[in-house]
Symmetry: C2
Subunit: 342 residues, 2 copies
DNA sequence: AACACGAACGGAAACGTTTCCATCCCTACC
DNA sequence: GGTAGGGATGGAAACGTTTCCGTTCGTGTT
C-alpha cells in the first residue's frame, strides 16, 4: 500500500513540473502562484501522499508551531479540564501541544534546570502554576511567550477567577442561611509555593468581619489538597468542644472528604452540618454538593486564545478574570437553631 | 542577561577549538572523542548556554524523539490518569509527548483524514480508543509504531484489564451477598464505536447464568457514559413494578448517578439497594462506593514502557493484562430479605 | 626500522524546507 | 511601438545538525 519512501517536496515539484520554490509557495498558500499551477501542485502532492517534513519546514522557518503546556497534576479534574480547553483552541489553530507534567518539587527543579522545552516551542502556558522569581529567570532564557491560567500571575498574561470573590460567594451563602459558627478547611498544594489560594482564605476572614462575627482560630484548619485530607480536617473539627454548624472548604474534593467524615460520625448533611465547596467538580452534581462554580474549561480556552493571538502577532488582551457563580444544591441549609427558631 | 541570539553549534565548536563534527560527537556522547576534548566542548557549551536545535538535529537524524498520545476525553479521570502514567515514563525516557484530543466523531474523522501527527512522531499511543479498519489503514500510512492502552486491541500491542473478569468480580460480590434481582447499567461512549466494554456486559449474563438466575431484560439499561445518565437509568429501573435490589454499574460515575437517584427517591444505600461500580475513581473512596479497582495509571506506564522498548529497538512484550480487584466499601450489603432471613 | 592499526579529529555532504533575489514574459499605458 | 510595471517562476543560499570518509598521529608489532 505504501511505497517504502516518504516522498519529498522535490518529487512533488518534479511531478507537477515546477520548481521547488513554486511548489513550496503553492502548498503554503503563499501569494504569487497562478491558480492553475497551485492546483497542479496540490494534485501531485495528493497523488504522492506527500506531507511536508515538519522538522525541515520549521528549521527553515525558524518557528515551531508548537506550544508547551505545563501542568502540575494531570489526573485532577481541574487541571485536566483546563488542559482540554487549551488543547482545543490550540489544535484548532494548527498548533501542536507538548505536554509537560511537572508534579512534585523534584520534577519542578528538573524542569527548570534542564528546560526540556527549550527551543522546542513558540510559547508555553502554565496551568495553575505559580512561578517564583528564579523560575521566571529560567523561563526568560527560553525567549518565548508565557501565559498563565488558573492562577493569578502578575508577570505574565493570565486568566483566572477572582478567588476572593468566589470565597465570598460561598461564605455569604452560609452567612445568609444563618450560620454563625463556620469552619474553613483550607487546602494547599504541598508541591507548590503557597500563596495561590490565599484569596479563598482572605474571603473567609473578610466575610466574617463584615458580618460582625468573631474569628475562632480553632475553626480554621489547613491541609494538603485532597479528599482524604479533607476528611482528616473534618475529624479535627469534630473533636472540638463546640463544632461548627457549617464548613467552607476550599475545593469540592476537600468538601467531599469532609462529608464522609460527617456521615461516619453519624451526622447528617445538611441537617446537622452544612458543607460548601468551590469548583463545581462534575461529581458535585452527582452528590448534591452546594458549591461555587468556576468555568474551568473556558479558562483553558481563553488561555489558548491568548497564546494564539500572541503568536499571530496581534497584541492580545493581557489578562482575563472570569466570573464565578454560587450553585445551591443539597448540602447547605439553615442551622438547626435557625430552623427551630423559624 | 541573555544576548539576543541563540548560539549555534558552530560557536561552541569554535570556542572549544574543535570542528563541528567533534563538537557534535562530544555533546551526543558518541564514541571517538578524547575525554579532555569532550570536557572542553561541554564547558564551551555551558558558557554559551547552548542547546541543540531540535529541528536541525531531528532533520539530520531522521527521528523525532516525540510520541503522540491520542485520547478521547482528557478531563475524565480515567483518561487523565492514564495519560499521566504514559507521560511519566515517556518523559523519563527523554521523549516528548504530543497531545491530541480526539473527542467526538467529527474530531475523529478530522484526525484520521488529516493525520496531523504524521511525520511528527516516532510512535503513537491510543488511550481507550478502539480503531476501526479504515482508521487502521490510515495509521499505517504514518509508518510508526502504535500501542493501545485501556482498550483491548488485537492489531497493536496493548495493555488493558480483563473487562469480563472485572465484571465478574462485581457481579459475584453481589451474588455472594445474596442478591437475586440485579440490574445492570451499561455505559457506552456515544462518540466511539461500541464493543469496547462488551466484556463488562458479558460478565453480567455469565454470572447470572452460573448462578442459575434468570435474565430479566427490563433490568438491563444501556445509557451514554456519564453520571447524569446513570441517574436517568436508575430512574427507569425504579419505575419497574419490581425494582432490583442491587445495581451493577459499568463505571463509578454511572454508579454515583444511580445513587443520587436512589437517594432522591427516598431509598437508602445499601439498606434498600446495593450499588457497585467499576474503576475505583478517586471519589469512590470519598463516597464509600464499593467498586472494582483497576490500576489506571499503571496501565499508562506500561503502555509508555512498551513504546520506549519499541523505539529503542528491543522487541517489547506484545501486550499486558493487568489485574483488577474488588474493593468493598459502604454501598453494598445483603438484600433486606436475606438479612431478615439471617 | 618499517609497517599496520586504531584512536582522534576535520571536511563536507546530506537532511528537506523556506525565502531572497533575479529572471522572464505579458499587459497596459504613454 | 517602446517601455514600465507587475505577476509567475526558478536558482540557490540559508536553517543547524549528524555522519560518512578521509587524514593525521602515536603506539605496538615483527
Amino acid at each position: 500500500m505504501s511505497n517504502g519512501r516518504q516522498s519529498s517536496m522535490a518529487d512533488v515539484a518534479q511531478r507537477a513540473g515546477v520548481s521547488m520554490a513554486t511548489a513550496s509557495r503553492a502548498l503554503n498558500g503563499s501569494p504569487g502562484v497562478a491558480e492553475t499551477t497551485r492546483e497542479r501542485v496540490f494534485l501531485a502532492a495528493q497523488e504522492l501522499a506527500y506531507v511536508v517534513s515538519p522538522e525541515a519546514s520549521r528549521l527553515a522557518r525558524g518557528t515551531t508551531r508548537r506550544v508547551a503546556v505545563v501542568v502540575p497534576h494531570i489526573s485532577r479534574w481541574f487541571f485536566a479540564a483546563m488542559l482540554e480547553g487549551v488543547e482545543g483552541v490550540l489544535r484548532e489553530a494548527g498548533l501542536d501541544v507538548l505536554l509537560y507534567h511537572v508534579g512534585d518539587c523534584e520534577d519542578r527543579r528538573d524542569f527548570f534546570d534542564r528546560l526540556p522545552a527549550r527551543r522546542k516551542v513558540d510559547a508555553v502556558v502554565v496551568l495553575a502554576f505559580p512561578v517564583d522569581e528564579h523560575e521566571q529567570r529560567r523561563f526568560q532564557l527560553m525567549g518565548v511567550d508565557i501565559v498563565a491560567a488558573g492562577g493569578q500571575h502578575a508577570t505574565y498574561p493570565y486568566v483566572c477567577i477572582d478567588d476572593e470573590q468566589a470565597g465570598r460567594q460561598a461564605m455569604d451563602h452560609l452567612l445568609f442561611l444563618g450560620h454563625e459558627r463556620i469552619a474553613m478547611i483550607a487546602a494547599v498544594d504541598p508541591d507548590q509555593p503557597a500563596a495561590l489560594q490565599q484569596g479563598r482564605s482572605d474571603a473567609y476572614y473578610a466575610a466574617l468581619g463584615d458580618a460582625g462575627l468573631p474569628v475562632d482560630g480553632q475553626l480554621v484548619v489547613t491541609v494538603d489538597w485532597g479528599g482524604a485530607e479533607g476528611a482528616t480536617a473534618m475529624d479535627r473539627l469534630l473533636s472540638l468542644r463546640n463544632p461548627p454548624t457549617a464548613v467552607y472548604a476550599h475545593s469540592d474534593e476537600v468538601a467531599l472528604g469532609a462529608i464522609r467524615s460527617l456521615r461516619r460520625a453519624g451526622l447528617s448533611v445538611p441537617e446537622d452540618v452544612s458543607v460548601i465547596g468551590i469548583d463545581d467538580h462534575p461529581v458535585a452534581e452527582l452528590v448534591d454538593l452546594t458549591t461555587v462554580r468556576q468555568p474551568v474549561e473556558v479558562q483553558g480556552e481563553i488561555a489558548g486564545r491568548i497564546v494564539v493571538d500572541l503568536l499571530s502577532g496581534q497584541a492580545a488582551q493581557k489578562s482575563v478574570t472570569v466570573p464565578t457563580q454560587l450553585v445551591v444544591r443539597g448540602t447547605t441549609a439553615p442551622p438547626r437553631g435557625a430552623r427551630q427558631r423559624a
